[in-house]
Amino acid sequence: MNRYLTQRVGFALLILTALVVVVPILLVIGTIVVQGVSAINWEFLTHMPRDGMKAGGILPAIVGTLLLTLGTAVAAIPVGVGGAIYLAEYARDTWLTRAIRLAIINLAGIPSVVYGLFGLGLFVLFLQFGTSILAGSLTLALMTLPIVISAAEEALRAVPVEFRTVSASLGGTRWQGIRHIVLPQALPGIVTGVILGLLRAAGETAPILFTVAAFFLPRLPQSLFDQTMALPYHLYVISTQVPGMPLDIQYGTALVLLALVLSMSLVATIIRNYFRRRRQW
């Protein structure tokens, strides 16, 4: 076999491996769209479920997932970005910072159902938040933190050290340099990390299972201490727990969840590109 043929065979194999990644994604999206699109209508998106969830809409689940994602963002962004600033800009290499880093890596590896149980123990029972949006958001935020911290720290470290020196040489304190120069430059990377983390939180079932998600609750939550339905858990319920559920409602729910997550991802890409164009080094 001559080497040109070898190269061709090699390329063919590489293309095949790439296709192996693309095909399942297209199949998943395609199946869900084809099977679910017939369920999507105004009533489905804006009404309460009725007839044992076999008819009506999924509004409380949509609102619940949006609220949980928002709550996760509010809790995870300040803590995560703050932690990343500490690690990237202030922390020296001591046993303490090494322990913190080790903890972050290990947090990222914990199964989500364990977060759920932990949230149940800490937020629902010990802190007596009850099964509530507050408890669910905080549990999801815990799970999101390592992603946010790692991404934000990396983005901060990618800003050339010379900018900090220049800022200091112009009479800036360390914090002023971070606030006015480093953070704006690191923003695209931080935003990407945050959205990736939130995407994961929005689609999770296990962490909200014991902390917030309601099996069937056909009204909108009134406060942080209310339970709520949420799309991932609702999908799980109507797919496995309710006999005789129409297939198009199952797929329609999956389609809404997918659209929600993908549009968040799209927004993230747009924001990132916007900031990247303004960056100038």
């Binding site: 010379e162 220049v166 200091a168 112009l170 009479g171 304190t173 006015h180 120069i181 100038q280």
Partner: protein, 254 residues
Amino acid sequence: MVRRNPKIRIENVSYAYDGKLALRDVTIDVSANAITVFFGPAGGGKTTLLRLINRLNDLVEGTHMSGRILLDGRDIYTPGVDVPALRRRVGMVFALPLPLPGTVRENVEYGPKLAGVRDRTRLGEIVVRSLTQAALWDEVKDRLDGPASALSGGQQQRLCIARSLALEPDVLLLDEPTSGLDPISTGKVEETLFELKQHYTIVIVPHSVQQAARVADYAAFFLMGELIEHRPGKEIFTIPRDQRTEDYVTGRFG
């Protein structure tokens, strides 16, 4: 050389990082309203000494310094010194011009704004004065709100000088400010320095012996972390006392 009432007095300064000695017992006085040149081959400790004068080496970990540095007679390393305030009095221009992200105007305003200047008129005056002093005003007056990164290398370096001058420092430190510039831009920066020395104390690490000879009122020759010779520029480049200075100035090594 020891003088009466020097602007900066460096007394028996030794400096090490990672256990490696970078400066060995350096004593030197820097005169006001003159250009003092720190020159010598690479690794001589010139840049290190320059960065010690406005405490930029504070940002580096694992270093050790002994000796004293006095600015107008006051030790800048005593506890309780306001380091940002010190750096506003002692400006620094780096080898590679690095405009901050943003416009020409924002670059010049950065230091004054951090120092608490808020008044628009006052900031506007600072921008005009600083850019004029740095001999850049005519070239950028129509693009103050354009990105600083769009300026040429020589303009960027003069912008960096203007950025330091915006704080009205007493002392201006320049670390090979023309190393990345073409001869014409270099000439402009040097002319700027001649203008500035009327009002400022200037210490410069030049990027060549020729530049050292061109700009020096006083020159200090550094070799392997030691100060070999410090005298008026006219003398050191024509009749050096130390054999090592002569060998370097005449190009026998370096």
